[in-house]
Structures are given as structure tokens and as C-alpha cells.
Symmetry: C2
Subunit: 410 residues, 2 copies
């Protein structure tokens, strides 16, 4: 692949026009949109308006006048369109971790008598951690269990109350087969919770086509909702009325403004709301969701896999001698919108890249992770990133003390 070949890919990219809808710092090659997505240009004005006018001028009246009260459902309905769900199956609010807890505590009610909360070793930690926390509330009733990925299906039996999996693994980028695993679990009467944090906005997701039960996802990665953006929860219509929310906050009540002493869950997905939503976070998230909703998810997936394939090809061509070992599936069909490599000096190499304005992530113990956000990453970003990586390796410039000091967050 020559520079003209790569420029031709960018020139032919149907998503190329989206890049100018974002503020991308000049000279930065940002391959970390799967950790924190870039800032949509429209977000600045929208958040400023929410602060100065909606909060500052309209104050408490904004809950009605500026539709704050509807924000969790309104944004949820838009996200539903990205993940193959009905508009009344998704609501925004709280964090991914909290929404995992909502799903787990709901799913166990569908299977009373069963005790095991099942996930896989190497899942994103918060998913497994939330299982532990729920199990600890009633340790004689519930057990949290992690098994190796290849043993998941064989483990499914009638002791399993719920299966919790992340669709795209945060470290390896490996994709689970949502339809097949959901079907296998259902055959044993097990509902499945899909964590879409690294999938939503990066590829078509078809929750209802897969007969999914529950899902959750993150607002600040491919949805570009801003740091710590509210998360979302999906609950299939058929389950919504069957469960009593464990996190039964007042906004999940059927009549929150009656201020009754007893909790009566709202109809449908509304019962999975809990406390008062963070309106600044919702406002920024909505801009990101609106922006990605303008794109065709098939185009996003096609570009995503092409960016990843190009990255692998170029790293193997230009850095083949430096000890990188592919940590993600080579076949793009099995991979999310990221490429990962093992390298024993991964941490220092990533720091050296960051100093050269190429931002990816390091994930312990030895993984360099590069995310591709098709709305703003270009094929030429991939070319330049690998060129800089090759230079860092050729000059051994990663091998300096300042790159080896680990900061609190990497």
C-alpha cells in the first residue's frame, strides 16, 4: 500500500465528511475512540445552551419546558435505532456498571431457584465485579462464576441463572456470536446480558433479531457522548413487566410525582430508570447519538474492518522484526473496531507513541490497543501511526526511563 493507494481509500470513503463534524486537535492521530470518543463540534454550543438558558434561565421549569424529564427515554429511543431494538426497549442513565447490576438483578427473577451468575474470564472487569457484589448481598442464594471463553457453552445448564458477556472484548477485540450464544443459552432457559460497550456505534447490532434479553452499553466510546457520559440499558419487551427493579429509584415509579410511600414500578422500560438523570451528561450524549445516527451503520462497519485490516497489514510489513504479536482475531469478521498487539514493552511503547501524538491505549499486562472510530479516523491516520511506530521501534526511542514510569491511568 503506497501513500496514493491510501489517499484513494480516504477519497472514496462515504463517511469522510463526518470528520469535520468533530473537533480533532491538529496533528493528533487519535486511535482511542473506544476509550473516550472525540468531541462533536455541535456539543459545545448545545452544552452551553443547557447551562446558560435551560438551567440558568428556565431553572426548575426546564423539566417540562425543555423536556429534561423525557431525555432518558428520548435518547434511549435513538440508541435503540443503532442496536436493533424497539424505541421502548432502551433508556439512558446511570453508568455501565450500574446498568449491569440492573440487568443482573432483573435476570435472576426470571429464573428463581437458579444460583449461578456466569461470565467469562477476561471479560471487562466491572461486569464480573458487579456479579460479585450482587452475589454478596445473598451469598447463600447466588454465586458468581467465571469460566474460560471456550467453556462457556458447555457450562450452560439449569444451575445458571444468567449469562453476562461482552459482545466485543475490550482487550482482544474478539467478537462473540450473539445469535448463537443467545440461542444456546435459551435452550437451557438462561437469559443473556450483552455488554455492548465496545460494539454500539461501531457495527450493526441486532438485539431483537438475536432474540436478546438484556443489554447495556457505554455512552462515551463510539457514541461520542463525553467523559463519563450516561450509559444505557436495553430490556426486551417480553421481560420488562416480569421484573421488580432492585434499583427501584423514584424515577422508575409509575407516578413519581405522587410521592407515594410504596414503590409501584412504571410500565415498561421506564421502571429501569432510577434517580434523577444528569442533564449535562445527557445533553452531550444526545449530540453524539444524533451525529452517529446520520451515518449508515453498514458503512461504519465496512470502514472499521478496512481500517483494522490496513493497520495489521502495515504493522506486520513495517514492524515485523520488533516482536509484536497479534492479540486480536486476524479475520475482521471476528473482530470489533480495534486491533491489539502483545509486546513485552507495550507500556513504554505506548507512552512513546503518545509523546509523538499517536494515542492508543495500553491494557495490562502487555497489550497495545488501537481503536478505529470510522466517523473521524482516516486511512491516512493508520498509515502515519504505523510509520511513527516503526520509527520508534527502529530508533528504540521507547527505551527511556520517562516512558516506563506508569501513571495512575494508562
Amino acid at each position: 500500500m503506497t501513500k496514493p493507494d491510501i489517499d484513494a481509500l480516504d477519497a472514496a470513503d462515504p463517511l469522510a465528511g463526518f470528520r469535520e463534524r468533530f473537533d480533532i486537535p491538529t496533528g493528533l492521530i487519535y486511535l482511542d475512540g473506544n476509550s473516550l470518543g472525540c468531541l462533536p463540534r455541535a456539543t459545545k454550543a448545545r452544552v452551553a445552551d443547557v447551562v446558560a438558558r435551560e438551567w440558568g434561565e428556565d431553572l426548575i421549569r426546564s423539566w417540562n419546558k425543555n423536556y429534561w424529564i423525557n431525555a432518558p427515554r428520548r435518547i434511549g429511543a435513538k440508541i435503540a435505532g443503532l442496536i436493533g431494538a424497539h424505541p421502548d426497549e432502551v433508556v439512558v442513565g446511570d453508568t455501565t456498571s450500574i446498568n449491569v447490576f440492573k440487568c443482573l438483578s432483573a435476570a435472576i427473577q426470571l429464573n428463581s431457584g437458579r444460583s449461578v451468575l456466569l461470565s467469562e474470564i477476561g471479560n471487562f472487569p466491572t461486569d464480573a465485579y458487579m456479579m460479585e457484589g450482587l452475589a454478596a448481598i445473598a451469598p447463600d442464594r447466588f454465586e458468581s462464576r467465571l469460566v474460560p471463553t471456550e467453556e462457556i457453552v458447555a457450562t450452560l445448564d439449569d444451575s445458571i441463572a444468567v449469562l453476562l458477556l461482552t459482545h466485543t472484548n475490550y482487550r482482544s477485540g474478539r467478537l462473540h456470536d450473539m445469535a448463537a450464544i443467545t440461542e444456546a443459552a435459551h435452550a437451557k432457559g438462561i437469559p443473556v446480558i450483552w455488554d455492548l460497550s465496545h460494539s454500539c456505534g461501531a457495527m450493526p447490532v441486532s438485539l431483537n433479531a438475536c432474540n436478546a434479553d438484556f443489554a447495556i452499553g457505554c455512552g462515551y466510546k463510539y457514541l461520542n457522548g463525553g467523559p463519563g457520559a450516561p450509559a444505557f440499558i436495553f430490556v426486551a419487551r417480553r421481560h420488562q413487566e416480569k421484573v421488580f427493579p432492585a434499583l427501584s429509584g423514584w424515577l422508575g415509579h409509575k407516578s413519581p410525582f405522587d410521592f407515594t410511600d410504596d414503590y409501584q414500578p412504571a410500565t415498561g422500560i421506564d421502571r429501569f430508570q432510577c434517580g434523577t438523570p444528569g442533564i449535562l451528561g445527557c445533553a452531550a450524549l444526545e449530540v453524539g447519538v444524533d451525529l452517529i445516527s446520520e451515518a449508515d451503520m453498514t458503512d461504519i462497519r465496512r470502514k472499521s474492518t478496512a481500517l483494522g485490516d490496513l493497520f495489521i497489514t502495515l504493522v506486520e510489513q513495517k514492524c515485523g522484526e520488533y516482536g509484536f504479536r497479534l492479540a486480536c482475531p486476524r479475520d475482521a469478521a471476528d473482530r470489533g473496531s480495534q486491533v491489539s498487539f502483545h509486546h513485552p514493552e507495550g507500556y513504554a511503547i505506548m507512552q512513546a507513541l503518545i509523546e509523538r501524538n499517536v494515542i492508543g491505549d495500553f491494557r495490562a499486562p502487555d497489550i497495545l490497543r488501537f481503536g478505529f472510530a470510522p466517523l473521524y479516523n482516516r486511512f491516512d491516520d493508520v498509515r502515519r501511526a504505523v510509520e511513527i511506530l516503526a520509527d520508534i521501534m527502529a530508533t528504540k526511542s521507547w527505551n527511556q526511563d520517562r516512558f516506563k514510569q506508569r501513571a495512575a491511568v494508562t
Copy 2:
């Protein structure tokens, strides 16, 4: 009290200078700071900087470079200074409802074998609702129970796992005696959770002097943190290491960036963090907390009670014939920073007031609630509010259809 008398009160007010630090819409008399506090002027620039520079330019690097990762503890430590807590006993994040759940699920671990989660009838609904949700996870283990206020102390026995009370009642404004109730509960081995939503920022609170166990509070009322601002949780040092968090999210792990499969709680208050904090919400909250931290809490309380006393006096003088009945303690020592009246036409009267630019709250079934935020409310606001109320009552202008149509949020 004549207009010159009231002007003299404003002239002598040591907090008068704070009003210009807020954006208050011209002509608005805002007596609803206990629902959503006003916008501090500095918030606009701060939020804009977080969006454009910290997110837009520094992107993922901001977790370290701009100290996002420290925000929950940093802001928590500042709030600790407002509520009589140590800096390492408070952390910001999630909603009030979620923090209630964190406290409940922690407190029950201090008393294994006990089954009753106790609160009072008429507490803010989400507190009672969260008890119901927790109890529903293990209904054979836990029971949620509400008793009349006057029966709380008599109910305390060794079946009670935890007592959850709101310090200032949201509807009546009645204050609980935190020290006395905590002592009575401790005598029976019962930890107490204090909901400070309507107290924090409105009066001195002395959690450690009262030997408090747990507390939670709201960021968007007297702390002026913005709509749906993050809430906070207080856990006394002596309890922090004794409990395993039920909401065991990754940021409560002792080494979140090691991404281990098993949850090991962080030392101290950090284990009560859960998911990724909403940074926009934190930024706005911090401005509000910084601003109120400049004021003397004794001045705030003194002005708060004077505003309330004046309001009661003037309503009884000028509206005595219109059927208002005091719904809060007359003695300011027993009252939070609000005054409430019953009136059978309370809803319509509040709507008429709002149309005349006097904003309070209606709380079902028949309560008009007026909150006093000493940082920006003036004695003259009280005078004008009552003047307008008297005019609405004299002209019966509340008695129109448009004031009787209830909106979704009131």
C-alpha cells in the same frame, strides 16, 4: 415589617455579596433552590473549558492531566467540610438513589442476622423505594418497613438492621435530631443512614460530632451543582473497611487499571466509587461546592431561619383569611431552609405564582413549598413573593382552568 425594615435586613446581610455570583433571571423570585439551585456565574466558563479543552483537546489524557480521576474524591473532600466529616469519608458520584442503595447494602453487613430495613412514613420516596428494591433481592432475608415518625425510636430493637432517615423532610421541612436519634439507634446496635439532601449547604451538619455512620446527599439543591448533578456518599472511617460494596464497580477496585478478574475493594472511601464518573456533572458541581465553601455555614443558617420566619409572619399577616395552614414547624430550630403551607387549591395557587414569576414547588397532595437559598435569596424576595401571593388570593386569579391542569412534573 415595612419595606424599609426589610431593606435594612438585606443591607445588613453578610451573605448579600453572594447573589451577584449567580445568574438570576431578572424579575424572578426563585424560592425553589431546594429543588434545583441557581446557576453560579463561574459554571458557564468552567463547563465550557471542560468540554472544549479538557475533552476536545486533551481527550483521554485528561484522566491524568486534568485530574478527572481525582474528581470524585477531590469534590467529596470539599463537601466533607460542609457536613462535619473528614476529607477521606466522602466521595462524589452516581445519584442520591444509588448512594442510598450503597449505604443500605453496606449497613446490613454490620448487622448480619438482622432483617429489617427501617424508615419513616413520609420520607422522601426514593429512600423507601430503594429499601424495597434491596429487600426484594433476598425477600427471605430482608424486610422493608416504614413506621410513623413518632414511633421510630420505640421501634428500634434488635430486629432492625439499619435505620434510614432524611434529616430535613422534603415536604414539611421538619428537622430530625441527628445526634439523639443516632444515639438511640446505636444503643440498640443499629447504624443510621442520614439523607442530607435538604440539609447539606443549608445549615451546619455535624456528622462526626453526631457519631454518624452513613450519609448521602444531593448535588443539585443547595450545592448548586446543576440539574441531575452527581450525589455524594459519606461512610464513617470506622465502617469503611468492614463492608464489601454491593455496587462493586471497577473504580471501587483497589487497582482498577490492573483489570483483574476478581474484585478487591479499594482502601477506605474509594471502594464506594462504582462506574466512570460523569465529568461534565462533576465540573459543574465543583463550582457550586467551591462557591458555598466560601460562605460561613453559621451565617447561612442564621439567614435561612430569618427568611423562613419572615415568610411565615408575612403570609399570616397578609393572607391570613385565605385558608393557608402551616405545614412546617413554626419554630425555626426544628425546620430546614423551607416553609410549607397546606392549601386545598395548592396546585393552582402555585401555578398562578409561577406565572407571576414567583417559583416554589407544589408537593402532593396539597402542599405549597418555598425554599430559601441564603446565598442568593433576599429578604425583599420574601416580601415581594408574599405581596404577589396576597394579590393572587385577593383577586382569586388562581381560580382559572389553565392553572388547574397538572403537568407531568410540578
